[in-house]
Subunit: 199 residues, 2 copies
Amino acid sequence: MGTVTPSPWKQLLLSAIESNSHLKHSYFVQFATIGSNGRPSNRSVVFRGFEENSDRIQINTDFGTLKIEELNHCPFAEICWYFTDSWEQFRINGRVDVIDGSNPNPAKLQQREKLWFASSIKSRLQYLGPNPGLPCLSEQSPAEFFLDPSSGPVATFCLLVLEPDQVDYLNLKSNQRIVSTLSRSANGEMCWNSEMINP
Amino acid sequence: MGTVTPSPWKQLLLSAIESNSHLKHSYFVQFATIGSNGRPSNRSVVFRGFEENSDRIQINTDFGTLKIEELNHCPFAEICWYFTDSWEQFRINGRVDVIDGSNPNPAKLQQREKLWFASSIKSRLQYLGPNPGLPCLSEQSPAEFFLDPSSGPVATFCLLVLEPDQVDYLNLKSNQRIVSTLSRSANGEMCWNSEMINP
């Protein structure tokens, strides 16, 4: 699904990222999914940029985390991204594509590889550690593993790509709220509609 | 449901609040629910303290927000609370009690009133504004409303009380993760069990 009209929220988001970029934590976003028990599930993840020439948001994760199981069950997520310096919030809802090493699409595998090499060695080492979420059995830390910087993604490395179809923007300084929704127009094209709503 | 054993996570959380209290945004938490469309829903809310002598987390909200409808449909939420200075994350899952002015329980109504008076006049004025989430029809701002500081909660003021039954703590500095779960022991008492798991 490619968007035809430019998304009205992306420029707002790029500006917020830019104006908060001096804060390391401004790349941390809260990623909500639906747990296997039917309850909401919510955790911080790191924004890894947009896929080129698109609105799609990239996140790296370990294939062993619960969110993979949750996304296989219900492929929707909502990101809540609050910028602590500019007091702006983006709620970004959409479908998530889970791309692991077994993906049949060569372009997606290539994108996964690109994100792997874009990660720091320290980040990559985390994928060599023990299975996340399982009881702690050893004291072994990821720093004890060795990784060849030129080797490609390990099996546990997984790319999540969220394709937004609704973005709710709130500015707590100006008290403005704008909701943008992607929908199919009469001529069959996908387009974004924005509306100012009460905060 | 009263917890009998002290909760192992509460002291960690109180310490994190204390050590990050110089940051205004450290009271902002991300509150995930399940939307009426079955998708996850996620937004920032303000932590308004614990209910006295309990683990229950208090949040104020407008009765007209979508989260009320969502909680009526599925009463569970997960808070993701990331502390930007100490690099600690708490994922707090539990059932949410929605307390509005029509609640039949006098103690709960009293608690709602207490939270109302604990809010700043500026916060209270927000409950007089136009219905949140509806299209913006006027330019009227909450500052144009008048509110007698001694009058009790308005009809739209709603208290949410989350009763945690699972808390997932992650410390990104020490790379430690502890999951605490509330469960019923053999003698029928509710008690917290904690386990160190892989981050």
